[in-house]
């Protein structure tokens, strides 16, 4: 686990573990949604949950482990940006699928033809 960093602050009000647990719950909720949902939009929502939980981790790790740097912050930023892109494209696709099949079920597009 690398070198052991001593907790010098004399006790943070909220432990890092708490953040991680929160993000973990969010992450697996997203995973669950990704597995069980049939609707493309709902799958997207699940993915957003997953991404968001990662953001929390980035920020929390940055804050707790390397407070004098900003990588976590920036990666969280980038993730947000990328998720925005992804959502835009995905929703475009969803709308297209909707036009083709009349609904947004993921089962329709199992086969990448027609």
């Amino acid at each position: 686990m690398g070198e052991l960093i001593v907790n010098t602050s004399g006790g943070a009000p909220i432990p890092l573990t708490a953040y991680l647990i929160v993000s973990l719950i969010m992450f697996f909720a997203g995973i669950y949604g990704f597995f069980t949902r049939k609707n493309l939009i709902l799958i997207l929502i699940s993915i957003e949950l997953i991404l968001n939980s990662v953001d929390i981790n980035f920020a929390a790790f940055n804050r707790y482990l390397f407070p004098d740097r900003m990588e976590g912050l920036f990666y969280a930023l980038f993730v947000i940006a990328i998720s925005a892109c992804e959502t835009a494209v995905a929703i475009a696709i969803v709308i297209n699928v909707y036009r083709k099949f009349g609904n947004t079920e993921v089962d329709n597009i199992q086969q990448m033809k027609n």
Binding site: P13, Y19, V22, I41, A76, A81, T87, T104
Partner: protein
Amino acid sequence: MLEQIIFSILAIAIALFSVLAVTSKRIIRSAIYLLFVLLATAGLFLMLNYHFLFAVQVTVYAGGIMVLFIMAIFLTHKPGKIVERRTNLKIISSILLSGGGLILCGYIILRNVTRVYNYLKINEINMQDIGRAMMGTEKYQFLLPFEAISLLLLACIIGAIMIARKEKNIETNDNKDLDHK
């Protein structure tokens, strides 16, 4: 003490709404629950003293992306429609798997993470620092990823437009195909 209370509220909100977001039967509710989760996350960022991140989260996520979602839902769904569900087998297996994952990862976290953090009370990171870090080309500066992201963003915008654009001819053909079926 106050911080802990706020954190607890936020944490409970996140946990609750994420689960609701993925289990709700109505799609619009899922979206709204997602919005709550995103906002709560923003709250967490605030607690971590990342104000800029908080702002981005609220504007881009809760503002931009959610609007996109809601628009898409309105475009493709009748309001109040109940979404179809997977078969029980799939749901159960997914519950087991994600539950198992949760337990496993939780175990790892609880076992390993407690001893290694270091929390420093620092002031709010001011915008100049962020701007410099983002626009600089030196060590710990992020111009290149920033530019890459912006290019990506551009590509996505164009792509989204291309995909969502209506192509008259093809569409009619496809509709015919559908009719046949």
